[in-house]
Amino acid sequence: MITKEDVEHIGWLARIEINEQETVEYMEKLNSVLEYFGQIDELPTEDVAPTYHVAEIYNVFREDMVEECLPQEIVLTNTEHKQDGAFRVPKIG
């Protein structure tokens, strides 16, 4: 069971502010998701190896060859918060 405190903690981890009403709402939604996984959990899977990738592929590599990078103005084009060629963000607590 996910408690209100869990929701608050998750919100803190994601650095998202969640108000009282939202906390209750998310708690209910998250618990219903968890309940659904509880149903899946009932299936006997002891003898089944976990599947992490649908294709059984190993060893995908690239060579150590330099490719062109993006120009700085393109990198910063999607933000208004920039200074001296860098992204500018608020002070981190």
Binding site: H53, E63, D64, E68, C69, Q72, A86, K91
Partner: protein, 495 residues
């Protein structure tokens, strides 16, 4: 005698090392050569974490990790893969760091260091690959920061994180381990330790076999020793006052030399590690035989060979192999037919000592010239030629220059900007060893001019002899051999 570790100190290290000899980042083709570049000029959709960008692993990074693993006598995993470590901090554009979790590429290994009581084995727990985050620059001081500027040039740099067992029993052993570890990485040619931010260390430390405290964010070998000395003192003080050590993470403030508690609410489970679905698992043990072929002679093996081949002392061999470029330089000098023992004294004792005194770090060797940069200001460069060392050692061995004059020549070359051979310098500065009659004359003059000191010496004041020798050296401008001068004075005064 075995070291008893009276304070029950246990130190373990986590060392992050940039594989900065690679040309490109871990998962994209951006160049790793960003150190003098403007911010955000070495980035692409992959290392900026833009939606839909797909990482592809640099093969050379995996090869480098296997090299490191083999050099640490570590087990290379049959199957290895990446995980996502989730946390929100602006240095991570994706909101997670790609790292390895329960399937690291390198398992248990070991490194032998020169410990408190001779050879000491430090266990390696694991080593894994991960990507470096971007770099944050605070506007103003950290305390009064108004905002943070982010440069993603470093984002996605290939890192190898090595975790040791808590096997080190003093800050000195921790530093020795780091020196040895860095040395091994440089032998493997996967790492240039002279670049800024190339190695970062977290240390965990406990006293009286008790609760461990983690000290984060240490960026130099000296810093590790200082941070640990401070932290051990702090823990002992807490216990002496009847307090308890709590398990916590502390931050090392390099400027003030203290550790500060960081309150962190994030625990391992909060990172919600899960397999990185964009990267395929690896089975690379098949590469091991070919990579083993490419492994160079490692420091311990080279040291043993130097002792055997050149008949030099363990201390000299240790100093000479402490940097692969210095070892190569020494062998370059020996190859020219000079006496290896004399060359070892000059290279290990004098030359290396003068470099350390000047804070010069060896940064290159091309078979003819060894180059250095200033440890604090890489823009300051200088070099020393194999041929100059050969010439100097030969002149010394033939008795044409005194040891003091030879040291002087080394200093002049290290401090100078002009290209001059040792012979030219000796000629210009009049450093050729004084003829014996010149020394004899200087001795006679000294005795005549310093009757008080002479009387003192005859009366039993041994210190006065040093003064008299000093006067002779002064008269001969340092060209006399101090030992000869001393013998002549003693002979003259005491028969």
């Amino acid at each position: 005698m075995a070291y008893e570790n009276p304070d029950g100190i246990r130190i373990g290290l986590e060392i992050h090392v940039q594989l900065n000899k690679l040309k490109t980042k871990m998962f994209c083709g951006c160049s790793t050569d960003y150190h003098n570049a403007a911010p955000n000029t070495h980035t692409c959709p992959v290392c900026l974490g833009l939606p839909g960008a797909l990482p592809v692993l640099n093969k050379k990074a995996v090869e480098a990790a296997i090299k490191v693993g083999l050099a640490l006598e570590g087990e290379i995993a049959e199957e290895t893969q990446f995980h996502r470590k989730n946390y929100f901090y602006p240095d991570l554009p994706k909101g997670f760091q790609v790292t390895q979790y329960d399937y690291p590429i390198v398992g248990k290994g070991k490194v032998v260091i020169e410990g408190e009581d001779g050879e000491h084995v430090v266990g390696i727990t694991r080593a894994h690959l991960e990507e470096d985050p971007g770099k944050l620059v605070h506007i103003g001081s950290i305390e009064k920061s108004k905002g943070v500027l982010i440069d993603y040039n470093r984002s996605g740099m290939p890192l190898i994180e090595t975790v040791t067992e808590p096997d080190m029993r003093s800050p000195k052993e921790a530093r020795r381990f780091l020196d040895k570890f860095r040395n091994i990485l440089e032998y493997l040619d996967v790492f240039d330790g002279n670049l800024e931010g190339a190695m970062r260390v977290d240390a965990n430390v406990s006293v009286y076999w008790g609760t461990r405290v983690e000290v984060k964010n240490i960026s130099s070998h000296k810093g590790v020793e200082r941070a640990l000395l401070y932290e051990i003192m702090r823990q002992k003080n807490v216990i002496r006052r009847g307090g308890k050590i709590t398990q916590e993470t502390r931050h090392f403030d390099e400027g003030r030399g203290v550790t500060i508690s960081m309150r962190t609410k994030e625990e391992a489970e909060d990172y919600r590690y899960f397999r990185e679905p964009d990267l395929m698992p690896m089975r690379v043990t098949g590469w091991i035989p070919a990579i083993k072929e490419t492994l160079p002679e490692l420091p311990d093996a080279k040291r043993a060979r130097f002792i055997e081949q050149y008949s030099i002392t363990d201390m000299h061999a240790r100093a000479l192999t402490s940097k692969i470029m210095l070892a190569d330089f020494y062998e370059g000098v020996c190859a020219k037919g000079v006496d290896p023992k004399t060359a070892a004294t000059w290279a290990a004792d004098v030359f290396l000592g003068e470099l350390n005194y000047r804070d010069l770090a060896i940064s290159s060797y091309d078979g003819k010239t060894i180059g250095f940069i200033h440890a604090k200001d890489p823009a300051v460069e200088n070099s020393f030629k194999v041929s100059d060392m050969v010439e100097l050692v030969t002149l010394f061995a033939e008795g044409k220059v005194s040891d003091r004059a030879a040291v002087e020549v080394i200093r002049i070359i290290l401090d100078g900007t002009e290209e001059k051979t040792p012979s030219q310098i000796i000629e210009e500065k009049g450093l050729f060893k004084a003829e014996d009659d010149l020394v004899t004359r200087a001795v006679a003059e000294t005795i005549a001019e310093n009757t008080a000191a002479v009387q003192d010496y005859i009366g039993g004041a041994e210190k006065s002899l040093n003064f008299l020798v000093g006067q002779v050296m002064k008269k001969t401008k340092g060209t006399a051999d101090a030992k000869t001068a001393r013998e002549l004075i003693v002979k003259e005064l005491k028969g």
